[in-house]
């Protein structure tokens, strides 16, 4: 069976004056998959979402969503998608209920169906109490939830969520996650951008790391973790042992260790899959390092993120092997 892609972009380019927001972005999201797009501030996530949702025209490249070209068949794309952008897109002066009814009408719902549907979404996103207040009186999180509800008025073929849980408390975030899982379970393709790596780890089948307008890495959360190796971290008894411990870890992993004087820890990324915890402990012991604790664990996505995009601590990481397709 050949894979059909709900989202497929090739060489997307976008410039804003001197800023090259996208430089040849390729994306491929299989039908029914949840794709997490990760990237630091300014990587081009929002620009990509805006192009895919027909809000912005690309300067180069092409993209198809639900089988339709985002430029030439924008109407068909709009009929197939649900969108919640990064910044609120509701009418501040109208109440939450009026907003949802308005968008419901514009989506083609009529009469009683509009009212029932809007009320159900208000209930679901716990906005019933505030339903009749103007949206401008909502807290940031409430407005976010209203915006998400507006994106879920239909059961779209493809749902775009640009940083859906930014500014939400853990409870609301869990609600969003549940909604995404439910829609994905019913066959909706989801493309979400996020800065919370845990979110991508929790929800996404595939992750695309974008950096400076290009896809830097892609793969399943497990693949990305495997590609970066494990993270070795040791705790030593006193600060003077940090430097000798770092020397040992440097020799074992080949990666530059990170020292934390406060916690008296030394950590390093280990790409060598044959490295074991007993060996680390033996070598440190042989070097006379007073060891208190040691661990070798898969990296968190935060570490993957910092490493694969060469951001955060300014270190350059060794070139990573591309996954062979």
């Amino acid at each position: 069976m050949t894979t059909t892609y709900a989202v497929l972009s090739e060489g997307l380019e976008k410039r804003y004056g001197d800023v090259h927001a996208l430089r040849g972005l390729d994306l491929a999201v299989a039908e029914g998959a949840v794709c997490g797009v990760l990237g630091p501030n300014g990587a081009g996530k929002t620009t990509a979402v805006r192009i895919l949702t027909t809000l912005t025209a690309p300067d180069g490249g092409s993209a198809r969503v639900a089988g339709h070209d985002v430029v030439r068949e924008a109407g068909a794309v709009r009929a197939a998608i649900g969108v919640t952008g990064q910044s609120a897109s509701v009418d501040d002066e109208l109440s939450g209920r009026q907003n949802l009814r308005l968008f419901g009408r514009l989506l083609g719902f009529r009469g009683e169906a509009v009212r029932r549907h809007a009320d159900a979404l208000l209930e679901r996103f716990e906005l019933t109490e505030a339903a009749d207040r103007p949206a401008r009186t909502y807290s940031g999180g409430m407005r976010r939830r209203l915006d998400l509800a507006a994106g879920l008025l239909t059961r779209p073929q493809v749902l775009f969520l640009d940083e859906p849980s930014t500014g939400l408390d853990p409870h609301s975030r869990n609600q969003i996650w549940a909604a995404v899982r439910e829609l994905a379970g019913r066959g909706t393709t989801v493309l979400l951008t996020t800065q919370y790596l845990e979110e991508a780890d929790q929800l996404a089948d595939d992750i695309v790391l974008i950096d400076r307008g290009r896809a830097a890495q892609r793969g399943s959360p497990a693949e990305l973790k495997a590609r970066i190796g494990s993270y070795a971290e040791v705790v030593v008894a006193h600060a003077s042992a940090l430097v000798p411990a770092a020397a040992v870890l440097d020799r074992l992993t080949g990666a530059e260790p990170v020292l934390d004087h406060e916690r008296r820890t030394v950590g390093a990324v280990a790409t060598d899959t044959t490295l074991t915890l007993p060996r680390i402990v033996r070598e440190l012991d042989a070097a006379g390092v007073p060891l208190i604790d040691a661990s070798l664990r898969p990296p968190t996505l935060d570490e993957v993120f910092l490493r694969l995009t060469d951001r955060g601590d300014g270190r350059t990481s060794p070139p990573l092997k591309e996954a062979t397709a």
């Binding site: 709009r78 002066e93 419901g104 514009l106 989506l107 719902f109």
Partner: protein
């Protein structure tokens, strides 16, 4: 999400400009209901001007054979009709600025509906909003001196002109996309009726200024209103649109609509770039 599925089944597939436009119109009326202050303020403005100009300047302005306040009321009605530029511009710039335009633009709705709903709502509120000005006008001595059908034509023409200027404003707002900038520029539009025959007769203006004022569409609108309400006949030696104000206003309105309806719709469909 059982409701969602039921509701999905209840969706009509085709979206028409009319149904979508009505939904957008409803939105604007709900906004006014939620915050009527803005509308009341804009409607109070011409009344304030009528009383101020009418009694402060009126005594200093000697107009042969005519009461200044009776001259001023049709002028203020014309200026109100031209105000569609300001309100249209502010509304669409605000919608872009606050992001709700992005929501509209990702919905599978008619591309005409947003500007159409906006301008239609503006037309409706103007029709109602002119009533207090007319009542105060009658109170200070202005009268409809022509026949009822001509007067009806006068109101129709005022609304047509308002509709046309509000499409122009709508397009400008989509160009500006910034609420504050649109507000600033909007308050600068008060100068437009000052350069017309809305508040003063243009016959005595010096050369170039007189030409500008006579070609100003607001002059044609003001003269047409005075003509149709039987307050004053158009001056025959003025520029064509001012000398034939009804035809002139129809022509200006048609020109504005022919140019700015497609421009605004296209601008809206394409977004901000």
């Amino acid at each position: 999400m059982t409701q969602a599925r039921e509701a999905t089944a209840a969706r009509t597939v085709t979206s028409t400009p009319l149904a979508d436009g009505c939904a957008v119109l409803g939105r604007h009326l709900q906004r006014i209901k939620a915050a009527p202050g803005v509308l009341i303020l804009t409607q109070t403005m011409p009344i304030t001007m009528l009383l101020f100009f009418g009694y402060v300047f009126g005594s200093a302005l000697a107009m042969p054979g005519q009461e200044y306040r009776a001259f001023l009321v049709p002028g203020l009605l014309a200026a109100t009709a031209a105000n569609g530029i300001m309100t249209g511009m502010f509304q669409s710039a605000q919608d872009c600025h606050r992001g709700v335009m992005d929501r509209f633009r990702t919905l599978p709705m008619s591309r005409t509906a947003v500007p159409l709903g906006q301008t239609a709502a503006d037309l409706l509120t103007t029709a109602i909003g002119m009533v207090p000005l007319i009542l105060v006008g009658l109170a200070v001595g202005w009268r409809i001196e022509g026949g009822p059908s001509a007067a009806l034509g006068g109101f129709g023409l005022l609304l047509l002109f308002r509709f046309a200027t509000s499409w122009l404003g709508c397009w400008l707002g989509l160009l500006i996309r910034n609420e504050e900038a649109a507000g600033q520029l909007g308050s600068a539009t008060f100068i437009l009726p000052l350069l017309s025959s809305a508040y003063i007769p243009t016959d005595n203006l010096p050369g170039l200024l007189r030409t500008v004022a006579e070609w100003n569409p607001i002059s044609a609108m003001a003269a047409a209103t005075r003509d149709l309400f039987g307050n004053a006949a158009p001056s025959a030696d003025a520029a064509w649109p001012a000398a034939h104000p009804v035809a002139g206003t129809l022509a200006w309105s048609a020109a504005l609509l022919v140019v700015f309806v497609p421009l605004a719709v296209r601008r809206h469909a394409r977004g901000g770039e």
